[in-house]
Structure formats: structure tokens, C-alpha cells
């Protein structure tokens, strides 16, 4: 991990005043369908951030990415990238963006170097500059020794690393990654995370779509949670975590709690939701100070011993679940 980031200082700061990506009322309805895949999405990715898009399958993440790359035309609304309109200034946009698809989009019978060279040329690079970029990208992927092996003979981890650095060959200002570490070995995953942080430090704006909450929590400064084509929540990761944490109380109960425990607690004023998983009781409330004492009283009344109690800490997964699965229980 001693390799220097291949980015020059030209990206440092990243911000040119305009956000990296700005979606306004973006709606996409596929022909023959009445249900919008994207429904009036408003989303702003500030320049120089690592931004995560989270959402269950079918939430609309891939549609957003395809629209950003100019592969899909929005039904209505607008997409601006670094201040340029994605529909009318497509050539400019394509130079600014680096796309890393979920599955390795590479030629298996070509070597890693040949893949980089080909896609580099397709990005308009040539001569000495192209050779320098190829070496830099091989360096970033830590696969200089594998450069002249055919891709079909490389491991899945190497393929994913190569897939990522091909997206960097033309030094884009914005890197878009679709599930970059799915089904990957821990070493490659760690390397990709490390490189993404380096890229971020060099001023690159990064938009990452992921299912892996720990990944989003570790990498992203901001996230948006999508479901059914709508943005359910968007904001700074620490803010979302602290907001969620202050609303959740978790109790570890000794022995098996009764099956109807959650229902029995519904009468507590201020309690929004309660659910039991094994010996863990999770309670959601907007007024933990008012709920805490009646809750402990109820435990005592039902003869349940509390082994541990946590309040004020939570994970992004809890945030995600509370805005997707958990939503149906809110009142």
C-alpha cells in the first residue's frame, strides 16, 4: 500500500462550485410500463465526496447509474454533472465520468495490459501518456506482475481490480462504481477500499452503489437510501447514524421472551415500534427519555431479566432497515 496515488493535484479540492452530480425531479418510466422506475428523484452529490447509494434490489440504483452515463434517457427531470447537462453535453460528460460496472467488463482473451491499452485508446489517450497511465493503473491494482497474463487466467479478485482501474485510465473527475466488491476476496476488497480513499483524497468524487452496509459505513461521507424509485433519506452518514441511534433502544433478555412481547409493549406512550429477534428486543421511539422507565417497568412486570441495554449506538444497517423494511411498521 505504499504506491502513490496516480492522481495529480489537478483534482484536489474537486469542487468547482457546482456539485459533482445533481439530479432534479428525475423520472424514468420504461416503455410499456406504467410504474416509474425512478420517481421524481432529487439527489445531490457534493464534489469531492464519497457518496453511497443504498437500496434493495429493484430500488432503481442501476437505472440512476445508467442515466448518469448517458445510456438511458430520462422521461423527465434533469441530470447535471459538474454543472454540465448530461443530455445535451454528453461528450463532455463522458470525459468527466469513469464507470466501473458491477461485473468485470473486460476482454478475457486479452491481457490486463492489452485491456488497459484498448480502453485507454478508446478514451482518446495515446503515446507516452497512455503508457504512463497503463503503468499507473497496473500499480494501483497491484498487478504489475500479472500485466501480461490473459484475463481469463486471472483470479476473480484481480479481474475486479482490473475492472476498477480501467475506469480510472483517463483520470476522470467522477468515478461511478456499481457494487465494486461483491464476491471478492478480503485482500482485494481491502485494496479497493484503500484505493478509493486515496482517490477521494486526491479530489475525485466517487459515487458507489452497494448492498454492503459496512462498506458504505466505512467509505461514504454521504448516502442516499432508495426504494421503489424514490429517495427515502439522504444525508451525512454520521448524522444519520446518530439520529437513528437516538431513536433505538436495544435490550438483551435472559431466557426466552414471550412470543407476544412486542404486542404487550404497544401501550407504552411514545413507543413507535418494537420487535423481538431471539433474545434481542429492539424498540424504536422518538422520545427515549419517556420510554425508558416504562419499558424497564414492563420487563419487571413480565418477569424478564435484562442482561444488557444499549442506547445511542447503531449501524447503517439499522438505518437502512428502518427506512426500507422497518417503514411498514411505522405509525
Amino acid at each position: 500500500m505504499t504506491t502513490p496515488c496516480p492522481y495529480s493535484s489537478r483534482h484536489n479540492g474537486g469542487a468547482t462550485g457546482a456539485p459533482a452530480i445533481e439530479l432534479k425531479q428525475l423520472t424514468k418510466v420504461f416503455p410499456g410500463s406504467s410504474t416509474p422506475v425512478l420517481n421524481a428523484i432529487d439527489l445531490t452529490v457534493p464534489a469531492g465526496t464519497i457518496f453511497g447509494i443504498l437500496g434493495p434490489n429493484g430500488a432503481g440504483k442501476t437505472t440512476i447509474m445508467s442515466t448518469l452515463c448517458g445510456l438511458l434517457k430520462p422521461t423527465s427531470g434533469s441530470v447535471h454533472i459538474c454543472g454540465s447537462n448530461a443530455q445535451t453535453e454528453r461528450a463532455t460528460i463522458k470525459q468527466v465520468l469513469g464507470m466501473v460496472p458491477q461485473e468485470p467488463a473486460i476482454y478475457p482473451t486479452l491481457t490486463a495490459r492489452e485491456n488497459l491499452e484498448y480502453f485507454g485508446r478508446m478514451q482518446g489517450l495515446s503515446g507516452e501518456h497512455l503508457q504512463q497511465r497503463i503503468l499507473a493503473c497496473l500499480d494501483v491494482a497491484e498487478m504489475v506482475g500479472e500485466a501480461d497474463k490473459r484475463v481469463e487466467r486471472l483470479s476473480g479478485g484481480y479481474k475486479r481490480r482490473l475492472n476498477m482501474v480501467i475506469g480510472l485510465i483517463h483520470e476522470p473527475k467522477i468515478l461511478i462504481l456499481d457494487e465494486p466488491t461483491v464476491a471478492i476476496d478480503p485482500h482485494s476488497r481491502s485494496l479497493i477500499h484503500h484505493r478509493l480513499r486515496e482517490l477521494h483524497a486526491a479530489g475525485i468524487s466517487i459515487l458507489i452503489s452497494t448492498h454492503q452496509m459496512d462498506e458504505a459505513e466505512q467509505l461514504c461521507q454521504e448516502i442516499a437510501i432508495l426504494d421503489h424509485g424514490r429517495v427515502l433519506v439522504q444525508g451525512n452518514v454520521s448524522d444519520l447514524l446518530s439520529m437513528q441511534a437516538s431513536e433505538t433502544i436495544q435490550l438483551q433478555i435472559e431466557g426466552d421472551p414471550p412470543a407476544d412481547l412486542a404486542a404487550r409493549l404497544e401501550h407504552i406512550p411514545g413507543l413507535l415500534e418494537a420487535h423481538v429477534a431471539g433474545q434481542c428486543l429492539t424498540v424504536v421511539t422518538v422520545r427515549p427519555d419517556r420510554v425508558m422507565i416504562p419499558l424497564m417497568q414492563a420487563m419487571q412486570d413480565y418477569g424478564l431479566a435484562v442482561r444488557s441495554l444499549s442506547f445511542g449506538t447503531t449501524s447503517l444497517e439499522d438505518v437502512f432497515l428502518s427506512h426500507t423494511d422497518g417503514k411498514r411498521a411505522s405509525r
Partner: protein, 421 residues
């Protein structure tokens, strides 16, 4: 523009590398078509041109030493389709059995005194004996044919036989006339002119006439070399379309679509290596037909005198095939769809276009329908050069038709590609 040209060359180089590393595909591209041409040209050697083609075993049983037997033997021997066996001992029953056994397809039994009987009857006719008082009847030959023998071939054999007998009548009649003249004119007798030198009609020999004018019938190799070149070219649509769909499935096409790469660079970069493969296929098939086939006992392919015309028709056919392949790739969703659709369509176009079955043996309606197939245009173009001695001007209509087909296919493909991005 320069930037796009650089991308174009890079695309060609990438595709050439991918193809060059697929050894199985290279075998199929270059070795299989050459083998096909060799095998089919040798196997079908006798079904084309002036070669004897189908031959029939014919038995003639005769103890007649005279003119009748000699004339029939002479007529049958001059026909390359007849393999004549003579017997002067076999009985009618034996001959019949041999026919049933399939040893012979056609049997002629000549009565032992056929010539003498004919001469006696001629004498009566010349002596003006009234028909009802004549002692001799016309000579009757027994003719038996294998029921499996095609009726048109049987008619050819019967025609040859009747012609020979008619010749005997003429010859015997002439001899009789000369004898009579010698007897009546005495010192003043002047022999009749030599029949061979005094023919009223030139012997007929059919000339093959095509819609472009006259020329020789294509030999087996003249038909097969261009036919299999064209089929190989059009079968390249299968790997071409599959290669496109694989790129789509692998995501590399998606990645290219996120870059500033014009459609013509992506499609052209794929097309050019396949165009070169097509030209190499054509050159190798023609070279084998010229230099290798004669060593194996086949006919040598006569290339004509217009290499530019060959290049024009070959290049146009290749562009038509590539256009078709790319258009298929743009619409097929899976490699299975592309493979089955392109191979089935190419086979239908080949069958229609006179590639699998020469147009000359098709019924008139099918010959009209053949015009619909681009492979037929290509084949006609090649035959213009090989068989009809044509040049660039003669192949231009076919070449332009193929180029128009190619332009339409490429246009459809580019529109589809753009609509997908």
C-alpha cells in the same frame, strides 16, 4: 476525426488479437471451407460440365455378324454415357435375369440373322412386292430396361438404338440402289456421292446459352469453389454476431457506450478483421482449386482474366455477409438466438441461391425465386468471371446489389446501436 481513426485502428487490432487467439475458430474459418471444396468438387466432378456423368451398363446379345450389330455397337460406343457389354452366347432368359439382378440397366437382343432378314425385306421392297405378299417382316429387336432406370435416360437409349437402326436402313437401301444402278447403267454407271461428304445437315451439338450470352457449362469446381467461398463468407455471420453478443454480455460493449466512441468505430472495428478473413478464405479456396484439386484428379479451376472483378465480387459479398451478421447481432438477445437465426437464414439463402443445389437443375419457378438470395448474386458474379469470361463491367450489377444489401444491413445495425445508447 484523427482521434476517431486512432480508435478505429485500436478496435481493429483488438478484434484481430481476439480472433487470432481463438484457434478453433481459425480452423473453422480457413480449413473447413477448403476441405468442403475439395471433397465436393471431387465427389460431384462428373455431375457437371461435359464429363460423362451418369453411365449405364448396357448388354447387347447378338450372333448377327452383319451391319445391324455393327451399327448398334458403333452408336452405343460413341455415347459416353453407355458402358456396352457384348455377348453372342447369352440366352434371353439369362439376359432377363441379369437385368433383374441389377447387373445391366438396359438389354438389347438382336436376332441371329437380323442383317440378312433386313436385306431380304429390302429386296422385296425394291422389287415392289406388295406389302401383303411380302415374305419378310420388319426385324424385331428385343429391348428390356431396368424399371429403376429414369424414363428420360431410357428414352435416350431407345433414341440411340432407333437412330442406329435408321442408319442401317439408309445404308442398306443405298447399297441396294447402287447395285440396281450398276446393273441398269452398265458402262455409264456413276457411283453415288460419299454419304459422309454429302450431308445435308451439319451434325447438331447443343450450345449452352445463359442470360449473359453463351459460354461453357460450369465444371464442378467452377460451381463449388465460388459456392463454398460464399457459404463460408456468410457463415462468418455466426461467429461475428456471437462475438458482439458476448461483448454485450461481458459488459465491455456497455463500457464502450459510456465512452466517446462513435458507433462506426465499434461496428467497423469488428467488421474489418472479418472482411480480411473473408478475403483470405476466398484466396485460399481459389488457390486450392487451382493448384491442389488437379493433383487429386479434379478439374483445375480456370480463374478467367479479371482478378479485379473477382476482388470486387468477393469483397462485395463479404461486406454483405458482415452487414447481415452485425444486423443480426444488434437484434438477437442471446448467443443461442444469434447462432440459430443466422445459421438457419444462411442455409435458406444458400439453398435458394444455388449454392447447395445448382440453379441449373432447379425448376423455372425456383430459379426465379433464387434472385431473392444475396448468395445467388454473389454466385452469378463469380460465374460471370469463371465461366462467361466477364470482367468488372459484367460483375458490376451483382456487386452493386450486394453492396446495397450491405449498406441496408449496416444502416439498420447502426440505428439499432444508437437507439441502445
Amino acid at each position: 476525426m484523427m482521434d476517431n481513426l486512432t480508435k478505429f485502428w485500436a478496435s481493429i487490432a483488438k478484434e484481430a488479437r481476439i480472433i487470432g487467439r481463438d484457434h478453433q475458430a481459425l480452423f473453422l474459418f480457413f480449413v473447413m471451407p477448403v476441405l468442403f471444396v475439395l471433397i465436393l468438387s471431387l465427389a460431384l466432378r462428373d455431375a457437371f460440365g461435359d464429363r460423362p456423368g451418369a453411365t449405364f451398363d448396357v448388354l447387347m446379345v447378338s450372333q448377327d455378324p452383319g451391319e445391324v450389330t455393327q451399327s448398334i455397337v458403333e452408336a452405343f460406343r460413341s455415347n459416353a454415357h453407355i458402358l456396352l457389354t457384348q455377348s453372342n452366347t447369352a440366352s434371353e432368359a439369362e439376359a432377363r435375369q441379369w437385368l433383374i439382378d441389377g447387373r445391366y440397366r438396359f438389354v438389347v437382343l438382336v436376332p441371329a440373322d437380323a442383317t440378312a432378314q433386313a436385306e431380304r425385306r429390302l429386296g422385296e421392297i425394291m422389287a415392289k412386292v406388295p406389302p401383303e405378299l411380302r415374305m419378310e417382316k420388319p426385324v424385331e429387336l428385343v429391348v428390356m430396361a431396368d424399371p429403376a432406370l429414369r424414363s428420360d435416360f431410357r428414352k435416350v437409349l431407345e433414341g440411340s438404338l432407333n437412330l442406329a437402326l435408321h442408319g442401317v436402313e439408309m445404308k442398306l437401301g443405298r447399297e441396294q440402289l447402287q447395285q440396281t444402278m450398276r446393273a441398269t447403267q452398265g458402262e455409264n454407271y456413276v457411283p453415288l456421292p460419299d454419304m459422309e461428304k454429302s450431308r445435308l445437315f451439319e451434325p447438331v451439338r447443343g450450345e449452352t446459352v445463359t442470360r449473359k450470352g453463351s459460354g461453357p457449362t460450369p465444371t464442378s469446381v467452377q460451381q463449388n469453389a465460388p459456392a463454398w467461398t460464399l457459404l463460408a463468407m456468410f457463415f462468418l455471420t455466426v461467429p461475428l454476431s456471437v462475438s458482439f453478443i458476448r461483448e454485450r454480455e461481458q459488459g465491455s460493449l456497455f463500457r464502450l457506450q459510456t465512452m466517446t466512441v462513435p458507433a462506426w468505430v465499434v461496428l467497423g472495428g469488428k467488421a474489418v478483421p472479418y472482411f480480411v478473413i473473408n478475403l483470405i478464405q476466398m484466396a485460399s479456396i481459389l488457390a486450392v482449386s487451382v493448384y491442389v484439386l488437379p493433383l487429386l484428379g479434379g478439374d483445375r479451376l480456370e480463374l478467367g482474366n479479371a482478378p479485379l472483378a473477382l476482388l470486387l465480387i468477393g469483397g462485395s459479398a463479404s461486406l454483405a455477409a458482415i452487414g447481415f451478421g452485425i444486423a443480426v447481432a444488434m437484434y438477437a438477445r442471446t448467443t443461442e438466438q444469434a447462432t440459430s437465426f443466422s445459421s438457419a437464414t444462411v442455409m435458406i439463402m444458400a439453398a435458394l441461391g444455388g449454392i447447395l443445389v445448382p440453379k441449373a437443375v432447379m425448376p423455372p419457378l425456383m430459379q426465379e425465386v433464387a434472385i431473392l438470395s444475396p448468395l445467388s448474386w454473389g454466385l452469378d458474379g463469380f460465374l460471370d468471371v469463371f465461366v462467361r469470361g466477364g470482367g468488372v463491367q459484367q460483375v458490376l450489377p451483382e456487386a452493386l446489389s450486394l453492396l446495397a444489401f450491405s449498406a441496408i444491413c449496416h444502416g439498420i445495425a447502426i440505428m439499432r446501436y444508437r437507439s441502445q445508447t
